[in-house]
Amino acid sequence: MLLIHCPYCEEDRSELEFRWAGEAHIARPENIAAISDEEFAEYFFLRNNEKGLTYERWRHIHGCGRFFNAARDTVSDRFLMTYKAGLPKQALPETGASEKTVETYEATEGDAR
């Protein structure tokens, strides 16, 4: 079972208690009534959908109920770091996996049939 560290509960908890809540660090435009449709679409609809390291919001919905931020590798599904909502995007600790060390489907199972 995947364990996720909740920065509010200060504990690793089962993924069953959490819910994904989209890409993190998307700031709502301050002049939202004045921006163009294209700018609104960029803000509201378009996401990077990165392969590999991605910053996401998660919610400990069946725990403390808080939203928080997480750095997750979408290939290995490894949570590299979590931190409280409202904090700026955090740099990964030096020991964290880099893109080069990430196992990919192609590398591990690409020829498996």
Binding site: E17, H62, R66
Partner: protein, 182 residues
């Protein structure tokens, strides 16, 4: 002549358990869903007559009531029927949100040497005493439903559950109780 309306508890008539686990419907209680900012916790604690816990996964108990930490600004306060928790919170005079959920929730008391095993049938939390000691509490999941779990003794837990989910929770706990007795 009209029959008087008799209130029955969501789990009245439910029986389950095993040689290792006792399952009982808890008596009716008064319950508050309480939200408040850190600076107002002291005033609310004074008004409710117990110190609202501020450490994750902890609870406090005093004067016949309990307060369970659910989140950084959220508590479940449980008192005896007629305790008047709502009025006490109002008397604090500070900004807060209090919702009376006495009848939204019901509770199942799980006790016996297999209590933790029965709950772990559907709950992913580590219920060893080192990680989940007496007095520890947490909102979590039990099978398909959300519960608030409180450890009241080494081998006893209180499972707070929304009333419409209580049949499901009781049924799954009964299965867990049977498994725990093997």
């Amino acid at each position: 002549m009209v029959d008087p309306v008799i209130r029955s508890l969501p789990l009245s008539g439910s029986y389950g358990g095993s040689s290792a686990v006792r399952l009982e419907a808890a008596p009716p209680a008064e319950r508050l869903s309480l939200r408040a900012r850190p600076e107002d916790v002291a005033a609310l604690s004074g008004a409710l007559g117990l110190d609202l816990p501020v450490k994750p996964k902890t609870s406090a108990s005093a004067n016949g009531r309990m307060a369970l930490w659910l989140g950084p600004d959220e508590w479940l306060v449980i008192g005896e029927e007629g305790a008047g928790l709502m009025q006490e919170a109002t008397n604090s005079g500070v900004t807060h949100s209090a919702v009376d959920i006495s009848h939204r929730n019901t509770a199942i008391l799980v006790s016996g040497p297999g209590a933790a095993a029965a709950i772990n049938t559907g709950c992913p939390q580590d219920l060893s005493l080192a990680v989940f000691p007496v007095g520890a509490c947490s909102r979590t999941v039990f099978g398909k439903v959300e519960i608030v779990l409180l450890r009241t003794a080494v081998d006893a837990f209180r499972v707070e559950i929304w009333r419409s989910f209580s049949d499901y929770a009781f049924g799954l706990l009964s299965e867990g109780a049977r498994d725990a007795a093997f």
